[in-house]
Symmetry: D2
Subunit: 339 residues, 4 copies
């Protein structure tokens, strides 16, 4: 719609389009309102659409396979995903301050998670990560404490005021995870678990969607599209390394070029996880800083009070002291980059 | 146990081991009985174990990350997975006759699935494949007819006598799929959906486990191990192509060397899907025959009465006529290879 | 040209096209003659070309990036590459008898190479392979005996009557290698050494072009095109495995689907090297047989009199005894497949 | 050797080791001298070595496959590669100022290369890149002007005072390229052209070694080792993207984690080429800045006066104006990072 289009005219147009059998989505930006149409639109006459109202500035067809996730769908305007936390609302998005998520791979005990929350909060993190349900390659590895760990996350949330992000692995668990978590995580191995994507798209909490190990950018955005199409517009994309031929010195290959590529293709915020991306704590600082320079909107970093004794992913976890040092560098670089 | 060990002595030994807190699994082979032990066995004294009975031939420790799936777990003896179908029991396994599974990507209508079943049966297939729940990259693509398609598969099963194999995508669907299917399929995108693997391992129907697009052989066998560890020993592995840098002429890269590698590492049967493996029907015959020469135990081939009009995966589907021709070649080569 | 077009008319047409500044290539098939045109042909008027002679059956434009290598360039007719050996001419090509190349990774001594030649010849091989110049990842590994090994290959050639195939690594070596070898090999690591391709295309001996580790089918055919464009039409393609994310149990991933894909795209013969393709001798038989079933024109197999003591690539070499057994299976399957 | 070991004692030790048949290399650092031994050292008695002189501080065995390239070989001290240019010496190395190489993919004409040199110099580049010999996938693409382009590079060098870096593709060309170039480039496709590596290691000019498309970090360092072992210690490593399954939006996947990994493994300087790494000029700035944040020692960036009309790689070239803007950001970030 043109800048300054009246609410009344927009509402009239929405009703008109609904009478055609369409479900227009109203996207309210800072200057303009965009109406998004997805569905059986291939046969729509663009000229006829344009003539529906003099307040229509332009009718554009999104040619990419992902529609709601495409930058064009919001006429170039990035999304800001607002997340309510006990300490106040934190927003993820382009040009907004960098958001830092930190914490252990898995929740091991109340003392451990509460202590870690306090430490990472003191260093400047806004979110606590911690796995209750853990996807592990082996059935004989520690699988996470499950439901009981959710209560420990709730305790850490209350004690620290940090927002909580934790993974959901199965549709029947969505509800109970959503009671505790401020952001629900879909892991790399479940990125194309379409049943999970559909169900998680039907609840309102923001979703952090990790890139699958062999997912192309298109696959990933189509996975986001499943969530968006189910009604939840609050998707944050998280690059965590892809699988390549070289796995000798890093667990995965962190694809930082995904950041500028996604900034071009989609309005959704982008987070990088350098801990899974490299698999080794010694490479995390360089990759965290590189991600900031490349324009990332947030970082997810594994921190464990005692990495040598971690029940999972110890080698890629920073100690709280290392995290504090890194946060100093992160703050300085983010400031320099205007974030 | 030694060949000829008495049942009484074996039972005594099982009870003895249970009294140690272990859960021995009795594997009855044609010549011998093997007792498998998984769990907290790292601290077990091998010599003390050997002295438990004079009927023990040898105590071996499985060093691989997968235990129950390893060839050593059955002392080198391959598994035969027996599947009950209306036309009688069909077995998958090394040195057994080659099994052929055929049918469309998705169940489109009753007429279509019943006709396809009749056609592929007439050409020599023992199982009908057909998707009720379809994992699709796009939320806007045909997602399968879901539960209603299960009834159509049941009708085709009754009409043709073929066994049915169809995919389960989510834990809440397992039960209703298992009511119709003779083999439950776990798709490539769900290969590391560990919640699904655990639940499917708790029901008794055989499971066909497709290899994930970026799954190593170890990842894949560990996924099988989840099902085995949950109590279901009837797992069939299905190679369907991996994702590589070259996707110009084939959709995936079919990894036929997985066949001899798996025959060395595991006792589980191996099936190849050349339709997904190549993505183009014209390459299916060459790859189907190559898989037989490499020692595969079964083939899964997409057949559609009218590939041009298929709702999904048309380009990789054979027509019934092409399938009949291919079955002639398959039979001839299988006979030549002693299968 | 039409079947039965007169030589005089064809020659007239060649001269006419030369007068336009083109360099037509005459390809004499069993039924027809094809005239190939490469160069500044984008602006040529197809209709005007067709009117040049009533003996022209059809004018086709090759749309693929590779021209001379394309199947269309020979109007669908496969090439037969004829190689003169002391034991007579051996031809590689579609529908021709399968050709077997065997021998050690590197030439270690005269006794060793002469003995191996005798053994593989007795088992039915037509060519002896053996490296004089060896591309090795480490500068501290055995680099081949170089020029002196060429003399040993000549001795083995004379003693056995087998054709010789050996690798050229650098342009200054082409001439001396071509004095001994019946087929010059370009290795995987040099597949895009364009200087070498151009020079090797200027000499007349047939060339076996291995696929690079990360070469797409298009890259590979364009590398062949370099040789063809330089004037040498006798190129044999050799698939030897590509590099993928899974390198735990096989050194490379042998891409057997390349066989039917190449049969569609190019007229050039295709050979498979299951020794490098898998890296382990125990997997060589299954992959050799699979390649035959997939329609390969030849096999290249590493055989060493004492693999444990080989100076390079021992783990992937068969013993002469294993090779003899495999040749029995190969002959039987080739016969069954009409090769 | 201990800090302060006398030259006389070091020379005595070198002679002693030479009398054992070894070829010790003297590495003079700021505080200490290190003697490197490569060759048949497996059987050397470490204790006996330590007793050779009281000035020996420690005898260490390098366990990695690369020896001279390893960080341990220089006891943790990074190399500074000093390159003489008309404008003075420029050094590449850890903690030294960031070096920028810029220029077109290929040298097209004298006016074009001289103008580009002037423009990139004015923006702050220290080296001019430009291809005389171009490795192209197709034999029908522009192959570079070859020897005549070398004269144009010499003219641009004289006019601008910039150092010149250009690619050598074949051993017979090394000498004439080295007459003009200040740094010789080995391209990605020739990274394992071992004949070229050996010959280029015998001449004294510094070498920029690009990573092969499917080269692991180990493969790459072993390629550097070939040059070092041949006598040339001046090797600069250049990451330019690896080949992965996702090639839709970027030509390659730029592996920035290679920077911290190489900083751990080797003493050699590391440069990143974001132009080839992404393939699109719009992604070059983000990746250039990310490389700096990750700790890179230099950048190589394609700049063309008119990218739309470039004879090769236009889409990935910046205009001189875009390069000037980027250099502003590069300088600012490098300053912030202490480079």
């Amino acid at each position: 719609m043109r800048a300054g289009a009246s609410t009344a005219e927009i509402d009239r147009l929405v009703q008109e389009l609904q009478s055609w059998g369409l479900s227009p989505e109203k996207i309210v930006g800072s200057h303009k309102v965009v109406l998004g149409l997805v569905g059986e639109t291939a046969a729509l006459d663009m000229t006829r659409l344009e003539k529906l109202s003099s307040e229509i500035e332009q009718v554009l067809r999104v040619e990419r396979p992902f529609k709601r996730a495409s930058r064009e769908y919001r006429h170039g305007q990035p999304s800001a995903i607002r997340v309510a936390t006990p300490n106040g609302t934190v927003s993820f998005g382009q040009d907004l301050p960098l958001v830092v998520i930190a914490g252990p791979c898995s929740v091991e005990s109340e003392a451990m998670i509460v202590e870690t929350a306090a430490r990472v909060k003191a260093s400047g993190a806004q979110f606590l990560r911690g796995g209750a349900y853990k996807p592990r390659t082996s059935p004989y590895s520690f699988q996470g404490h499950g439901e009981s760990a959710l209560a420990l996350l709730a305790a850490a949330r209350q004690a620290s005021g940090l927002g909580i992000i934790t993974e959901v692995m199965d549709t029947p668990d969505i509800e109970k995870v959503a009671e505790v978590a401020d952001i629900l995580q879909v892991g790399a191995r479940n990125m194309q678990n379409f049943s999970l994507l559909k169900q998680i798209g039907k609840q309102p909490k923001p979703v952090l969607l990790k890139r699958g190990m062999a997912a192309t950018i298109d696959d990933w955005l189509m996975a986001a599209e499943y969530i968006l199409a189910a009604g939840n517009p609050n998707v944050i994309l998280c690059e965590r390394g892809i699988r390549t031929f070289d796995r000798e010195y890093t667990r995965n290959t962190l694809d930082l070029s995904a950041i500028p590529v996604l900034k071009k293709l989609t309005h959704l915020p982008v987070v990088v996880d350098p801990s899974h991306g490299t698999g080794w704590s010694e490479y995390v600082p360089a990759m965290a800083l590189a991600a900031i320079a490349a324009g990332v909107d947030g970082l997810m970093i594994e921190v464990h009070p005692n990495p040598q004794k971690a029940l999972s992913d110890g080698p890629q976890s920073l100690t709280p002291e290392q995290f504090t040092d890194l946060m100093g560098e992160i703050r300085s670089l983010a400031l320099h980059r205007g974030r």
